[in-house]
């Protein structure tokens, strides 16, 4: 297949999947097969694009022009390629997990669940491949809208209230800040295409550039830089597979991915570091990391703790990008990858615990590791990756970020990373410790077992991947190097 066909089929495939899921809703096994086949096919298509990108080619697809300067235009560059690979691969694993989770927890309206999930993935691929801000914006909004029914899946009043916060914050920030920022960029530079070396060249007042940068960062509410992070804890009312794939990977990563992409291809790091003396973004991200970590430490609810941990980890990516040196940007992009696998493992584990025991609080987890060894082992690996201890992927990205911070002697960044690593340790390791080494009751009898097989399978795969990525990071590293080579 030629690359244009590949791009269009990557975008359309989940939508075709939706049709089949809707058609086969009477037979649930067939319906789930449709989801799985679609996700496998999507992986095949996305990974078929990989060799070309690794050879330095950027496959493109022009759909149509709306006005002379607004176009629906896709282009697969290394950063988008990496993001699409992560999203499509994890969709498969997450689908396996969903089958186990949704069935054993007896959720209603499962067809709707799979349909909107596929739509969300289609939007994510659209974000990954977009070649200009306008296309990015459209798919960004699609992603918000398609995940709303997933967040409010249970349909109770409390869930609807949380759903309103979710929708309200994400839509309001994107319309009030993101869109005006896009139009402003277009007004200043005459283009909104993602361009190698940025679109800003010439003299601009630093205040203009800083305002734009902040408008983009906060307009992309999905990146959850404080204070626009409130939607993420709200979204935790969703079923766990949604929290796992969307609110640890697809949605939030779409946010930081967009910010990174804008900094690299719209502003260009060299331009930014020339023009900005005080890097506001760095401080905002640093503050978010620390505050979110402290809140995570104080939350007893497991999913809430994971949500705040996500907020803090997302700001790692922003912080690393805001350092504006190649090596830290490499770290930022790798962190998108590492955190995706690590955090989805943790969410999977949390869901597995809930499915097997209906426990949701950290304080209830004493001794659970003996009864659910696979799940808790995976949880331990995920935690190590969050903290950044080898042999997990989290170590790699943190290494690069720290190196970047040391290179330009940003002591602020170094301090933030060190403190937050300590905080990470403080809120993850105790869970692992009590799970394995503290007895919940005097008798050593398990009243429950591991969660159903698909769940355990999924959580094991992602945990394994977290380790594998530490030993074999060649492909992502190559992509990142391509990105650094061309973007800076």
């Amino acid at each position: 297949m030629n690359s244009q066909l590949l791009i269009i089929s990557a975008l359309l495939l989940p939508i075709i999947g939706v049709i089949f899921i809707a058609l086969t809703q009477k037979n649930i096994n067939l319906r789930e097969t449709c989801t799985l086949i679609t996700s496998v096919a999507l992986i095949y298509i996305v990974y078929s694009l990989l060799p070309a990108v690794l050879n330095g080619v950027h496959p493109e697809l022009y759909l149509f022009n709306i006005t002379s300067s607004l176009a629906i235009h896709f282009k697969v560059e290394p950063l988008g390629m990496l993001f699409a690979c992560i999203a499509s691969f994890l969709w498969l694993i997450n689908s396996i997990y969903s089958i186990g989770y949704m069935r054993s927890n007896k959720y209603k309206h499962q067809t709707r669940f799979y349909i909107y999930f596929a739509l969300a993935i289609a939007s994510t691929i659209g974000i990954a491949f977009s070649a200009n801000l306008f296309t990015l914006f459209i798919f960004y909004e699609f992603l918000t809208l398609s995940t709303y029914p997933l967040v409010t899946h249970k349909g109770t009043d409390e869930v609807k209230r949380a759903g309103r916060i979710y929708l309200g914050i994400l839509l309001a920030t994107s319309i009030c800040l993101f869109l005006p920022a896009i139009i402003w960029t277009h007004y200043l530079t005459g283009t909104i295409e993602f361009t190698r070396g940025g679109v800003f060249n010439g003299d601009y007042q630093p205040i203009v550039i800083i305002s734009l940068l902040l408008m983009f960062t906060y307009g992309i509410g999905k990146a959850a830089v404080m204070p626009v992070h409130r939607w993420l804890p709200s979204a935790m009312v969703a079923p766990t597979p949604v929290s796992a794939l969307l609110h640890a990977v697809a949605v939030v990563k779409a946010g930081v991915f967009s910010v990174v992409k804008i900094i690299i291809y719209i502003f260009s790091p060299t331009f930014l570091s020339d023009i900005i003396d005080v890097n506001v973004l760095l401080y905002l991200a640093g503050a978010t990391i620390l505050i979110a970590s402290v809140i995570a430490l104080r939350s007893d609810n497991l999913k809430r703790r994971l949500a705040y941990s996500t907020i803090s980890q997302l700001s790692y990516v922003i912080l690393a990008t805001a350092l504006l040196v190649p090596i830290s940007i490499m770290g930022a992009v790798l962190h998108i990858l590492a955190h995706a696998f690590g955090k989805i493992t943790l969410f999977f584990a949390a869901g597995a615990i809930y499915t097997a025991t209906k426990k949701t609080e950290v304080s209830q987890l004493d001794g659970i590791g003996r009864c659910m060894p696979w799940t808790m082992a995976a949880f331990a690996i995920g935690s190590l990756s969050m903290i950044g201890i080898p042999p997990t992927a989290g170590f790699l990205s943190k290494w690069f970020i720290l190196q970047g911070a040391l290179d330009i002697q940003s002591w602020f960044a170094v301090t933030v990373i060190v403190i937050s690593t300590l905080l990470n340790t403080a809120y993850f390791l105790p869970i692992v410790y009590v799970a394995f080494f503290r007895n919940s009751n005097t008798k050593n009898v398990c009243t429950y077992n591991e969660a159903p097989f698909p769940i355990v399978l999924a959580v094991s795969i992602t945990a394994l991947m977290t380790v594998i990525l530490f030993f074999f990071p060649e492909v992502p590293l190559q992509l990142v190097k391509l990105l650094i080579g061309e973007g800076l």
């Binding site: 709306i66 909004e141 309001a172 139009i183």
Partner: protein
Amino acid sequence: MISSQLPALQVVLPLAAAPLCILFHNRTFAWLLMVFVSLASFGISCALFNQVLAENAITYAMGGWVAPWGIEYYIDKLTTYMLLIVNGIAVLVSLGARESVENEISSDRIYLFYTAFLLNLTGLLGVIITGDAFNLFVFIEIASLSSYAIISLGKDKRCLYAAFRYLVYGTVGASFILISVGLLYVVTGTLNIADLSQQLVNAENTATITTAFVFFVIGIAIKAAIFPMHLWLPDAYTYSPSIVSTFLAGTTTKVFIYVLIRFIYSLYGYEFSFFHESFDNLLMIAACGAILYGSYRAIKQDSLKRLLAYSSIAQIGYMILGIALITELGLAASLIHIFNHAFIKVGLFLAVTAIIYSYGTDSIERLAGMAKTSPFTFVLFLISGLSIIGVPLTSGFISKWYLIKASLEAGYWGLIVIIVFSSVLAIIYIGRVIETAYFKPEATNTASFNNKKMPHLLFLSLFIFCFINIYLGIETSLNVDMAFQIAHELINK
């Protein structure tokens, strides 16, 4: 040659057709005539459009009396742009009108309704096409009087009050316009708009001319429902028969804004208009007031028609905003929005027409869960609703894109905040309808609804409007390029 008589035919055709409705006294005939005439009229405006593209501007001396003594019809790009909007809407609305009209207007008056409807179309087309200031006033009155009549035809008795109120406001507005035309005649001795603009350049800048300008702007502001002179609009749109609200919402106010643009740019010249009495600031304040007030009030409404009426007030604000920026881009944005909003709002009102036809109510609360019973109506409402919010890939986005860009270019930061904020308000008021229709459980008393199926022609017409809304959001060469050309010509005249 017939083609040289097209400007006259554009007005004469609906005018001549109107009495036929009374003569034949048959409601089906009247409807068919309405559809046929509006189609023919649309055909004429397309032909005129082609002529204008070739010849730039056409003048037509009515009855062979040459201007400035006789009445002259003046057709340039802006004229045909507006003619296409009004005629296009007339065709589509009359196509879907039949069943709804029979449902909402008592059957012995239906032929009268079509008579007045045709006269209203005549008036609007005349206002657009005429190049004579007094003739303009005559057509304004034809359009207004006929609209008072069709508003009062509703079965809901409150429409009488609404029509009367509109009549009082409208007459005040019309008198202001007449006074203004009179004053201009006193100073220049001519009524021809092209001639007037020549004379005004040479005339001394007296208080009379300024007074005429002020009177005119106030008169038009009442007619076009520019905040704070919008008070007649919500009632008129709410209580009139749905088809009437649909047609008026798409055409009347836009035509009067067109008149405002004509007076500012073609008659007075924009140097006079804007650099004189800080008129632009006044316009801008009115526009911002309209946008915020309209959007805010729309949130609070329970009646769908009233909600859309307030939304219209806000949208009129956008159009005025573009004009008040006094830039080419701003004017173009305003013209683009006139075009786009005409089709968006008619799409929305037509969806409400279908809802009222099916359920006999437009109360949002009573529509709970109705999206299941009439899925098509609500999907089409949703599409137009997204467009009015300004979601990308709909025509509303294109309008907002250019408006924001124009505000940026003019350096007005506050305006962007206002535009963006009112988009958020639009999300709330459209979202409320969608949430009620889609996500609220169905009310138990649905049996009391007459629950008729949407007529096919109404569906067709509604579908075409939604199609246009999306088409104009994806392929903009039709209206955007035209609007830029017009703006360029008007500013650099």
